[in-house]
């Protein structure tokens, strides 16, 4: 007798590939804004990350005796590669993106069992390796506000990333600039007030005057697009951003001298990409509706704490990784109420 098929007898409407492609599509506006404000560096990094991710993915699938085609065409490695590229400064020795991506795909993803089985967000794991091991290179951001039209041409950027050669008549220190979050972190530590910082550092020129806010805004747009397409759900981004906003508002109301305003936190650093593109990685995030809110709150709190009192200017990556550990517990305690189980006494 032939095998019987079981219901449902329908074609599929969704696929992992479709979801990943939508995520990639949602990153495009941010990518354009990024290139506009920070130059070609991100594209160089993205190419490096993608090449590394795909090679590592194929190699690991072969080593693990898994079919290559279905897994390479799910495009999850591509998403990881792009997220790492977004997290890295535009001018960076070529082997750092390669190192981060290899770590992400080989160790954080495949050694844990590949797609669907990794407890930690691979992109953030790869990024944090660089953040801890190569702190100096990781602060080498270009000044966003003075970068359009580009201060570094594509070849200049390429030459630096591959051969460490800077354009003539400039130096590393002249070229690079700390990120706004970094400035606040360092300068408030030195005793400067927010007002003094904003007036004396070129990173600050009001909202949407500098590149950071625009990139964040593009991530927000991309995120809303993903929610509308049901690729991600609203709980994590809303909980994370709201937590950051509430905590920074309280601090701001208590002391405006040392605490930047809430909008700075919400639009600054990795908040938007983190809330919509990183924390929402389904594999490593909480999966219950209520759990996702707790998960988002957790990331928001950790991010705020690290930004305010920690050693690192931003805390999104750590927030995500730390909350990844808590996911099984959160999921267990946030199970939704099953249909009809409210009136158990009727049993």
């Amino acid at each position: 007798m032939n095998t019987l098929h079981t219901s449902p007898h329908t074609n599929f409407t969704n696929s992992v590939t479709r979801m990943m492609l939508l995520v990639i599509a949602a990153m495009i506006p941010a990518m354009i804004a990024y290139v506009w404000f920070f130059g070609w560096g991100i594209l160089i990094n993205a190419v490096l990350c993608i090449a590394t991710a795909l090679s590592c993915e194929i190699a690991m699938l072969k080593l693990r005796h898994r079919p290559v085609m279905p897994f390479i065409t799910d495009f999850s490695a591509l998403v990881t590669a792009l997220l790492i590229a977004f997290a890295l400064p535009p001018i960076l020795p070529w082997w750092l993106p390669v190192l981060a991506t290899s770590f992400a795909i080989i160790i954080a993803k495949h050694l844990y069992g590949g797609l669907g089985y990794n407890p930690f967000n691979p992109a953030m794991a790869g990024y944090v390796v660089l953040l801890i091991a190569f702190p100096k290179q990781m602060t080498a951001w270009l000044p966003a506000n003075s970068n359009q039209p580009f201060t570094m041409t594509f070849t200049e950027n390429l030459r630096y990333n591959f051969f460490g050669e800077l354009p003539s008549n400039t130096s590393y220190d002249l070229l690079t600039q700390a990120t706004p979050l970094d400035v606040v972190e360092v300068q408030t530590g030195l005793g400067l007030s927010i007002e003094q910082i904003e007036s004396s550092f070129t990173q600050f020129s009001g909202y949407f005057g500098v590149g950071w806010d625009w990139v964040s805004l593009m991530f927000l747009l991309g995120g809303l697009f993903l929610i509308s397409k049901r690729v991600i759900t609203w709980q994590i981004p809303v909980a994370m951003i709201a937590t950051l906003a509430v905590l920074s508002s309280i601090a701001y109301l208590l002391d405006q001298q040392t605490n930047p305003d809430p909008l700075f936190h919400v639009l600054g650093g990795a908040t938007m990409i983190g809330a919509f593109f990183i924390a929402t990685d389904p594999i490593t995030a909480s999966t219950t509706p209520r759990g996702r809110i707790y998960y988002g709150i957790g990331i928001g709190v950790i991010t705020y704490v690290i930004r305010t009192w920690g050693n690192y200017p931003d805390g999104v990556a750590f927030g995500v990784l730390l909350m990844n550990i808590a996911v099984p517990t959160i999921d267990y305690y946030s199970q939704p109420k099953v249909f009809g189980h409210a009136n158990k006494d009727m049993d």
Partner: protein, 510 residues
């Protein structure tokens, strides 16, 4: 407007109903052979009461109900019994079942039926239930539960709400939609009879809003007096709104848990087709020998709703619907979401056959390779029981059956929403069916082993008891023996003493 309630999850699906609603209900031909399965309902199979060679009339009972939860089977047309044997029947596992095969004589001669019209309102509800039972009526929505049981208010003197399910939420199926148009009178008759049997306070008819013609036709068929008793309610089209628990929630706001029955809340729910059959059985005194079957899908050129004699081989029906067999990749009984595949097209139409869906190659899943779960939670989002399908999947896969139950596996209604939305194309429902079957098997094993253990323990106890009894008997005997010995000694002593005394007396006298 009545306030409606929403249930969690659900999905909006393309109805594809218009396809089979092009023309009114078509009366299907009576085939040369009718194959009557004795098990077409939930409960005990019916017991054949005819023999090979018997001449049978249309509507004659050929198998009688066995036990309480059972239903009789009646001949679909007049003819001769040619075989009583195992045949392929429609079953999810593709197994065979005992069937009574009748070669029809083409006369379709009915058993004698008296023309006397009895007023159901003067009938005793229990008498009414017996009539329904003898007519072989079971739930025609697809479950096949004997209907007379659900016409018994039980410990209650009356029930609050009688719901007629005309939601028909599965795509492609339109037999209820067609019946609401062409057989509205029968449905209303049946509903009023059911209402009388249950002494129901209110009657609600729930119909999904993607069937405006059915709603209009049914409402038009109601007399103004009936309108005061029967309320037609349009509910939003959202699969699985026609599932009993979801429909009850939508109409009344009451959520029933896995083990709860609607009657616990004073609610009884019947399908519209069942109501029509009840109307027929009581008013026209005809047992259930036919039903409306939707024959549809892209492999038939004349999709539609057919009034089919039960026992008609599916292939006959498919041919009447002009089947293009080269196009048909899969035949499904029921809808695409919950139906099951039929591997033998000679299988007969059963009381529970609501739809024959022909599926072409293009409509089947293209890529059957399942990817790992990416924990996206879409399954949870659409689950009408608000379960965590993904967690159930992990535990079912790991065969951790205890965990699956702690995640409320048995609340799963197997609607297929989770599988439908899964981006990784994991056959989730199949995992749940597997886990459920494993648990049932385990429970059966446990029951058996419990039984064996009890017997063994009783045996031990009995041997022990016997031993004790023996011991006791022995002791008693010994004691008796001892006592009797004592007595003998005492008697001997007494004798000796008396002799002594006598001797002494003698001495003294001397």
């Amino acid at each position: 407007m009545r306030k409606l309630f929403s249930f969690h999850g659900g999905i909006v699906l393309d109805g594809h109903k218009r396809m089979s609603l092009q023309e009114p209900i078509i009366t299907a031909d009576i085939p040369e052979q009718l194959v009557h399965a004795v098990h077409q309902h939930i409960g005990e199979p019916a017991y054949p009461i005819v023999e090979v060679g018997d001449t049978i009339l249309t509507g004659q009972m050929i198998a009688q109900a066995e036990g309480y939860i059972s239903a009789p089977v009646h001949a679909g047309s007049s003819g001769t019994v040619v075989a009583i044997e195992e045949r392929s029947i429609a079953h999810p596992s593709g197994m065979q079942g005992l069937c009574i095969v009748i070669e029809t004589d083409g006369k379709d001669q009915w058993i004698e039926i008296s023309d006397e019209i009895e007023d159901y309102k003067r009938m005793d509800p229990s008498y009414l239930r017996n009539l329904v039972r003898d007519a072989g009526i079971v739930g025609l929505g697809g479950a096949g539960f004997p209907s007379f049981i659900k016409l018994n208010p039980g410990a209650r003197s009356s029930i609050d709400t009688l719901i007629l399910n005309g939601a028909e939420c599965e795509p492609y199926i339109s037999c209820d939609a067609a019946l609401l148009i062409d057989g509205a009178r029968d449905i209303i008759d049946g509903l009023l009879i059911m209402r009388h049997a249950l002494q129901a306070k209110q009657c609600l008819v729930g119909i999904e809003d993607n069937k405006p013609e059915s709603i209009k036709a049914f409402e038009a068929a109601l007399t103004s007096q009936e309108k005061t008793i029967i309320e037609v309610i349009t509910i939003p089209t959202l699969y699985p709104a026609g599932s009993e628990k979801q429909l009850i929630k939508t109409l009344t706001g009451i959520s029933l848990a896995a083990k709860q029955l609607p009657i616990h809340h004073g609610i009884v729910c019947h399908n519209v087709g069942t109501a029509a059959a009840v109307g027929h059985a009581i008013r026209k005194k005809r047992p259930l020998i036919s039903r409306i079957v939707t024959v549809t899908g892209d492999a038939v050129d004349r999709p539609g709703n057919y009034d089919v004699r039960l026992g008609t081989p599916m292939i006959n029906l498919l041919h009447q619907a002009e089947l293009q067999s080269y196009k048909m990749e899969r035949l499904v009984m029921g809808g695409p979401m919950m139906g099951f595949e039929i591997n033998d097209t000679d299988s007969p139409v059963l009381k529970t056959t609501n739809c024959l869906l022909t599926i072409t190659e293009e409509q089947l899943p293209q890529n059957t390779h399942a990817m790992p779960c990416i924990r996206c939670g879409e399954c949870n989002h659409v689950c009408p029981a608000n379960l965590l399908p993904q967690q159930l999947y992990w535990h079912a896969r790991a065969r951790d059956l205890e965990k699956t139950q702690s995640y409320n596996l048995f609340d799963c209604i197997e609607c297929g929403c989770c599988t439908y939305v899964c981006p990784s194309h994991i056959p989730l429902v199949q995992y749940y069916r597997f886990a459920k079957t494993e648990i049932w098997a385990q429970e059966l094993d446990k029951k058996k082993s419990d039984h064996a253990r009890e017997r063994h323990e009783f045996n031990l106890y009995r041997t022990e008891r016997k031993k004790l009894e023996k011991e006791q008997a022995r002791r008693k005997k010994q004691e008796q023996l001892k006592n009797s010995q004592k007595d003998e000694v005492a008697a001997a002593l007494a004798r000796v003493n008396s002799k002594k005394a006598q001797a002494e007396e003698k001495d003294n006298r001397e």
